[in-house]
């Protein structure tokens, strides 16, 4: 436990308004088991390419190629999925990642003002991004990413763009990250009525100990228009190849979301590593969310 020394990072909160106007709402919705289990804590506990891409500064620590696909069953008849890949560009040139996601938002019966059924309407969203991180000097690295999200509705679509910039420091078993996320133009960029982006500032630390069999992260998340809240994450491998995950979110602006998320991962090791993961979080009266992913690292 002596090795687990949390760092305290003081974050300056930037504040505007419009928390619901996120250009990248569908990018930010979790699609992977670890994102589901850890919530925002994925940014310091990334285990798969999707999570690494969300914190581009930490990509500098990724020295392997990987590919992962994930699917999530959301509440309300909504389903999502994503694929992501990481690719070390060169020995000293850092690591890049690309991500793509899709959300099927379901079909709804359309009605006129008087309640006459007008048939069915459906909606979907596609999102994606490119991300890059590289080491600067010593244990310090930097990264940046650009993401988009396009909400497709009947007879219109809403395009959002956002950017992430961050710093990451690694020293032995400790790492710390400071990220500014969801920076960008007003949303939607292709509409007359646009709202400010609710950018977010994230500061967090991660430490692993006991031969990497246990890892823990602590993070502070502050998004414009919402109350800052802490996030904690714990990962433990009590038996080889099996990892259990537990996440805690202190977020109060989502009253139905359970503060606890959980997950499990099974890995095989060898020339290539394979991983099958599962994550779960309850959203109370809204329903439950569960995700399954398959990944390969080589």
């Amino acid at each position: 436990m002596k090795r687990f020394v949390p760092l305290l990072l003081v974050a300056t909160m930037c504040a505007t308004a419009g928390a619901q106007n996120s250009a990248v709402l569908y990018w930010n919705l979790p699609t992977t088991p670890s994102q589901l289990a850890y919530g925002a804590g994925t940014l310091v506990m990334a285990g798969e390419p999707q999570g690494s891409a969300a914190n581009p500064a930490s990509l500098a620590d990724v020295k392997w190629r990987s590919l992962a696909t994930a699917g999530v069953q959301w509440w309300g008849g909504v389903f999502g999925g994503s694929v992501a890949a990481t690719l070390p560009v060169g020995k000293r040139s850092g690591t890049a990642a690309v991500t793509a996601g899709y959300w099927g938002l379901g079909a709804i019966t359309a009605y006129d003002e008087r309640g006459n059924p007008l048939g069915s309407v459906s909606a979907q969203a596609v999102c994606g991004g490119v991300h890059y991180g590289r080491r600067l000097f010593g244990g310090l690295s930097a990264g940046a990413g650009a993401v988009f999200s396009n909400l497709v509705l009947p007879q219109r679509s809403d395009l959002g763009l956002a950017f992430t910039a961050g710093m990451h420091y690694r020293w032995r078993f400790l790492s710390a990250s400071l990220l500014a996320r969801d920076l960008g133009p007003k949303y939607p960029v292709n509409a007359a009525g646009r709202g400010k982006l609710p950018s977010a500032l994230t500061a967090g630390v991660r430490s692993s100990f006991w031969g990497e069999r246990i890892a823990a992260g602590l993070q502070l998340e502050a998004r414009d228009g919402e109350r800052p809240y802490p996030v904690a994450a714990l990962e433990a491998a009590p038996v080889p190849l099996v990892t259990a995950r537990l996440g805690y979110s202190g977020e109060r602006d989502r009253p139905e979301m359970s503060p606890l998320g959980a997950g499990i991962a099974v890995r095989t090791t060898g020339r290539q590593d394979f991983a099958v993961e599962y994550g779960y979080r309850s959203y109370g009266r809204l329903g439950r969310v569960q995700a399954l992913s398959l990944g390969i690292r080589f």
Partner: protein, 451 residues
């Protein structure tokens, strides 16, 4: 599939007297009173004084309710002064005699000039509207704050903008409760139909718009215009409640003095009510009665179109109609014709039928939701006393919440979040909880915002 049952009762048995509140009228729960809700004195552009006008309506015309609605033109020309308005309120209170006569003090707002939006009556507000000739939405907003009944007067496109062509502003739906289907000798039935078709929830009224000494007796070739008001007692609070609730009918009495009674209930609920119901057969009950005049034809209007009719040729009619109410929002009203030329229009019953396919489904009308917002419709729980509606975005954040004490009505969502910001496009989940003394029911639904 309709089943019509026409019942006839012997006139003698009902002991009807049109000038007398008809406790024997088949429609239960309320008594019918006759009123004239639109008139003037020399406080604006009419003749004589308020006390004379009220006394005339009570003693000569023999009606139960007389409103004086002096022009409020912001002090221009024939506008009532604030001092005179306060005096009008005082006189109306003094003359009102519970059980015998109710005098209402009111004002006729707005202008029918080239830049005006039209005329609106509102009754028993504590003060005058700060006149603005062209600020229709400001006027609606002020009316909402007064919480008193108000009425579209002589709504006709010949008059100025005619309330922006009766454009329906959902946020101000509650500002107006009545529409003048008849003003003296002129019919505005088409405007009644148009206002209802556009979405206004307004009831029917007929008035004389007196400018001379004929309060309650002004008659033209079409007849004598009066409003029938169904109230539980002849008191000012009860009459105002009835006007707010649209428990009224418009009538043109012909021959002169031949007042009649007309009412409509839907599923036992009085005309004027807005209520949610489960899918199934809807029962409408029409009652019409007159001391002598024969009702030659009754028309049932459904969503602005004649859906049924009957030719009773009787002076007392009870007409029961059963029909399948399709999913959606509907309004029903009845138009009655008398052999002697008299005519009447009931206020509509506003029926909202929630979707049938899923007992726990919540929907929004319209879907997708745009700038005008929507009504949240759900299958009502019998005996519910409290309804809570919440809207969540896909991230799980609750963006809006409303609590209603009226479990039988749909809930209006203006399409904005709790801070009043327009909700961005996307998919949202709705949870409606209906709580009653015995049980609680939770229903869910999904909606789409697309502006």
């Amino acid at each position: 599939m309709k089943r019509i049952v026409l019942l006839v009762a012997a006139p003698a048995a009902l002991m009807l007297a049109a000038g007398n509140p008809a406790s024997a009228h088949p429609a239960p729960g309320y008594r019918c009173f006759f009123g004239n809700l639109h008139a003037h004195t020399r406080y604006s552009d009419g003749e004589s004084t308020p006390d004379t006008a009220y006394a005339y309506a009570r003693d000569v015309a023999g009606i139960h309710i007389q409103a004086l609605t002096e022009h409020n033109n912001g002090g221009i020309g024939y506008s009532i002064t604030p001092a005179n308005y306060q005096n009008l309120l005082l006189v109306a209170d003094t003359i009102t005699s519970p059980g015998r006569f109710v005098a209402l003090a009111g004002q006729e707002l707005g202008s029918i000039g080239s830049s005006g939006f039209g005329h609106l009556n509102v009754w028993e507000t504590p003060g005058l509207w700060a006149y603005n000739n062209s600020d229709l939405l400001g006027c609606y907003s002020w009316l909402m704050a007064q919480r008193q009944p108000a009425m579209f007067n002589h709504p006709d496109s010949n008059w100025a903008s005619n309330f922006n062509d009766l454009y329906f502003y959902p946020d101000y739906d509650d500002a107006i409760s009545l529409l003048e289907v008849v003003n003296h000798n002129t019919l505005y039935e088409n405007s009644y139909l148009r206002a209802l078709a556009k979405g206004w929830h307004v009831g029917a009224s007929a008035n004389q718009d007196n400018h001379s000494r004929t309060w309650g007796t002004r008659t033209g070739s079409a007849g004598t215009a009066l409003t029938g008001v169904w109230a539980d007692t002849l008191t000012k609070p009860a009459v105002l409640e009835a006007l707010r609730s649209r428990r009224t009918f418009a009538m043109l009495c012909k021959p002169i003095g031949e007042k009649f009674q007309l009412s409509l209930t839907a599923d036992g609920r009085w005309m004027g009510e807005r209520y949610l119901r489960q899918p199934g057969r809807c029962t409408l009950q029409v009652t019409a009665s007159s001391p002598d005049s024969i009702f030659s034809k009754l028309y049932l209007y459904r969503d602005g179109v004649i859906a049924d009719s009957t030719m009773p040729n009787l002076n007392v009619v009870s007409w029961r109609i059963e029909l399948d109410a399709g999913i959606g929002s509907h309004y029903y009203f009845v138009k009655a014709l008398q052999r002697g030329g008299g005519r009447g229009w009931t206020s509509p019953a506003f029926v909202e039928v929630a979707p049938k396919r899923d007992d726990d489904l919540v929907v929004t009308w319209p879907t997708p939701v745009a700038d005008q917002g929507a009504r949240i419709a759900f299958t009502p729980l019998d005996g519910a006393t409290r309804v809570t509606a919440e809207i969540f975005n896909l991230a799980g954040a609750r963006v809006w919440r409303a609590v209603s004490a009226d479990p039988a009505a749909s809930i209006r969502w203006d399409g904005r979040d709790a801070q009043g910001r327009p909700m961005p496009n996307g998919i949202y989940l709705i949870i409606v909880e209906q709580a009653g003394p015995a049980q609680t029911k939770t229903s869910k639904g999904k909606t789409m915002v697309s502006r």
